[in-house]
Amino acid sequence: MKRIALIGMPNTGKSTFFNRMSGASARVGNWPGITVDLMSAKVLLGGHIVELVDLPGIYDLHGYSEDEQVVRHFITHNAIDLVIIVLNSSQIDRQLPLTLQLKKLDMPALLTLNMVDEANKAGVTINTESLGKALAIPTISMSAKYGDGLQKVKDKAAMLINANTEASKPESIQQALTADQQIEQKDVDNLIKAHVNIPATLSESITDKIDKVLLHPWFGLPIFFAAMFVLFQIIFTVGAPFQDGLAWLLETIRTTALDPLFANAPSWLSGLMLDGIYNGIATVAAFIPIIILFFLVMSMVEDSGYLSRAAFLMDALMAKMGLDGRGFVMMLMGFGCNVPALMGTRVMRSRAMRLLTMLVIPLSLCSARLQVFIFMITALFTAQQAPFVLFSLYVMSFATMFITALLFQGKYKNTEPFVLELPPYRFPTPRQIFVRGWLEVKHFLTRASKFIIIGVVLVWFMTNFPSTAAPASLDTYAGQIGQLFAPFLDPLGINSYLAIALIFGFVAKEIVVGALAVIYGLQGDALMAQMATQIDWVQAMSFMLFTLVYTPCLSTIVTLKNEAKSSAYMWLSIVWSLGLAWVISFVFYQGARWLGY
């Protein structure tokens, strides 16, 4: 199969282009010798199935960052039939050197001048034809976001692929790379002068106007936090009716179809299938609408360019904790899932700063924990209280991160440079939001389903055996384990049933709600009503605080260990978060009780 690789700088719309080419069919692939996940897709091009690989965004082929090493490793170990270079037209003056570096490697190449819409707005005009001739690389201008010129790129790529030119030879690429031919700035300047027209002074853009408000010295931060609050409020309000509808549907399926179906089955089988697997999965499934909304909103914020602004606004504060603005962005990414956020710290070159950032990321309230909280909040608080309770948990998440960084910054001192590009604001098209959101949701669901089915079966077994014990009573295996932890968890108001959910939550938070459904043998509204009679809001809050702070999941632990390449560091993270969780829940629970709640 022929192979096409995409190469370009960060913020050039390379991933948008990739998604355009691949539809939503992309998958995360493993490549020998490469530790980061590369997106790849099989696409039909010129009558052949071609493998399209999206390489990480890089600034410099000879740079030292992890991503730059990944790209070098890829092109020196894999034959490539065509390199599609993606370049941001409005910044062509500083992006051309990368193209010239790639040209020196003598690979079959196609140059795409992306974001032609933005370049037009900025008054940057490029003579595509003459530039392509001068570079001796086929060159096409396009807007991957709006789809302009996309067909031309596809046709040209198909033509080049079918032209039977030889694929790149990894060994000769290796040689060309080590030869390290410098790009002469003079060559770049001459090309720009001859083929590009950049206005001397740029008129004040829309981005400048928005920045005046959003990066305002006094209002910038309050606006940021208000915006986040409103977004979470929207997720909650819009998601709730969908969630209720889905819960009702799943309940109806059970009473009208599944209950009669298993009516004559042995009681252990119907118990396992209905009270175990179905209840567990149905309870978790009811949260899918909220998770989808969450990822849609997150990918919109991520693509808009606002996150780099957050890094600007927060850097001074982060510096006081030994972190930087990028660390803050990773924390926000952790709201989706801690695992990619941990991997994102690879952009930091100083190990000390990486370790400090990785110590705080597991404390960020990920979407799996969000699902537990929404369940508990819906069960024990009114609709008016709900957004505030959820917001207070986000505040708590930040607070624990800050405390952790403050306490450990002495241990991880660093002088990491902080230099970050500030892209213009870009409002993603609905299509972009949808594709990005869908990929995230797909990833979440694969992960969740894997853990949940195994998890709920185990919980069902432990809450129903030994068979002499009444189901979910304290005499079952689960009850016995719960009692074992009672001396630690009773002072937090966490009873033996909740303790079991917490134990399974160690593997993955996605299991927690499913586990509760299995433990109580109920689902949906019935489960929530039952919970409300068993525990009060103080206990629920204490349980949520513990869930928020203690170890997020096994995947996070494994990632932490792999990224830090240290077991001692992994244990530090586990022990610290468990200890902190216990102290916070203890102080909250005992404090609230002491105050008379």
Binding site: M9, Y59, D60, H62, G63, Y64, S65, S90, Q91, D93, R94, P97, L98, A122, V124, Q185, I198, L202, D211, L215, P217, W218, G220, S308, A311, F312, L313, D315, A316, L317, A319, D324, G325, R349, T415, P417, F418, V419, L420, E421, L422, P423, P424
Partner: protein, 75 residues
């Protein structure tokens, strides 16, 4: 010799030297920081925060510590 961190907001200047290690040099030059290039400071972050710098069509934020190692000549 003036360094970038002392440039006042809104003023234009030209880069005269980059006094940084090789790794940071690669990153800075890829972002457009090169000797002879014009730049200006758009804004400064509150509480001694980072500088928001504009070079041509590229906007970059960097800390004062990094700005200290970029030498400039005011326009």
């Amino acid at each position: 010799m003036q360094s970038l961190d002392t440039l006042s907001t809104g003023q234009n200047a030209t880069i005269t030297a980059l006094e940084v290690d090789e790794a940071l040099f690669h990153r800075l030059s890829a972002l457009g920081f090169r000797v002879g290039k014009q730049l200006s400071i758009i804004r400064r972050g509150i509480f001694n925060g980072p500088l928001h710098v504009r070079l041509g069509t590229t906007d970059v934020i960097l800390r004062k510590r990094e700005a200290k190692s970029i030498h400039i000549q005011q326009a």
